[in-house]
Symmetry: C2
Subunit: 267 residues, 2 copies
């Protein structure tokens, strides 16, 4: 029997970047209620240690659980790389990260080509080597080239998405990958906004943006668990740990449409 | 009578940048014991709100007080701009920020020239308008041009201190100040590392780096309060809220000499 489950989907990110995931989720699941939580007081996570990332992410998921979410998406690549296994081991709610969907897609694309995948992300994501391990696990013939790109997030948050400065920083980070890869995983929620600049530089490289892959996986899990919402009741609510002003400013770079003002909370 | 006060000086910064202040303090006060505290789990503060900056800074100062410091230096410009008045109103220990010493120096320099001062800092520092107000309070004939430079901190933390990318970002932020100012306040602990690149671009502008001004002020306060240490007993201890590895890596950009491994603590 088809149930209707009105409980919201929880989307967590260290800051504003997870909005790329929210956008894709609402595109293919327009009736679902969504609660977005951004840990904006402690953002960014990308250069921090595993223990700190686990602590912050766990506190954030606990907040979403209080809001009675039926599924949690860890939209942050850094948290997905370093905290997801731990979260899954302690919480009963279905929890989904952004790594597996992106890995699956990248491997499928690259298999038809030269089997050379590039992965870019924050320092902590790349240092965790999780992308590298998961790709090789699916196909050990694939060569993986990983590179941390710490300046990409501040660039995007400054609204610098193309132009001379962006091109030079793209060159700085990607010159070693250029000509060596057929597929590139954009392993950070901010990077899809640099897709044009990265694409122009690398040429003929398929870019995997985890957001749309994750959204498909969310739909699968909802159907599998029979916790789908087929009635139009949708709300989107935003919660942040720092005052909403700066979040709203940067969120406008990510979303084109209007959205409800986030509520300030403490975790 | 001359007392000898062995209690350490506490230096607080949101991260690693306060090491520029530590360096200057130990240069002119070589016998003083120093405790450095960096809130590396929650860094950076530069784009966050006043209430969050006050909360994080207060928690950090409370940690230093537990270590029985005789004086607290708020080495972080963002915290000095937004939290110093509050801290002074609630704590009895002498607390010193980095704004006043820099303002005093800048005004003294600019008075002999065209009375046009530039101030650069984080988003929150510039938005607080504290530098601007304090300069005008000392001499209302001085014109102040302020500009937030959010990409400077990530550049320094990437070890990018000169070259093409740095020059282009310097141009991006400082083109409106070029030719208009005789003095520039480097209103963030990271910026002195970009002094050469900024100096080459602006030409003939006197740059005020608060670190050395703050150190002089620390010495004054110690003498005034008779809490000087004239015996060679010095230790330097470092505490951070995230695991020390990343701190140590970036600290090497700031300090040339070796230093004791920081201890990880929670506030």
């Amino acid at each position: 029997m088809m149930r209707i489950d009105y409980r919201p989907i929880g989307i967590f990110d260290s800051g504003v970047g997870g909005l790329t995931v929210l956008k894709e989720v609402e595109k293919i699941l327009p009736y679902e209620n969504i609660i977005y939580f951004g840990d904006t007081a402690r953002v960014p996570y990308g250069g921090k240690s595993k223990s700190t990332i686990i602590r912050f992410t766990t506190e954030s998921v606990l907040f979403l659980l209080k809001k009675k979410v039926k599924l949690v998406v860890i939209a942050c690549n850094t948290s997905s790389s370093l905290a997801l296994d731990y979260l899954k081991s302690i919480f009963t709610v279905p929890i989904l990260g952004v790594i597996d969907p992106a890995v699956k897609k990248a491997v499928a694309v690259s298999k038809k080509k030269e089997k050379k995948i590039g992965v870019i992300g924050t320092k902590s994501t790349v240092a965790s080597r999780l992308y590298q391990k998961k790709i090789t696990l699916l196909d050990k013939a694939i060569k993986v080239y990983a590179k941390a790109c710490p300046l990409f997030v501040p660039l995007v948050e400054e609204g610098l998405l193309k132009g001379d400065i962006v091109n030079k920083i793209v060159h700085l980070y990607l010159k070693d990958l250029k000509g060596k890869i057929d597929t590139l995983v954009l392993g950070c929620t901010h990077y899809p906004l640099l897709k044009d600049s990265i694409g122009k530089y690398l040429r003929n490289v398929y870019m995997v943006d985890s957001a749309s892959e994750v959204a498909k996986k969310v739909k699968e899990i909802l159907i599998e668990n029979n916790i789908f919402n087929k009635k139009k009741t949708n709300f989107k609510r935003f919660y942040v740990t720092d005052e909403p002003k700066e979040f709203m400013k940067i969120a406008r770079i990510f979303l084109n449409n209007n959205f409800e003002k986030p509520k300030l909370i403490n975790v």
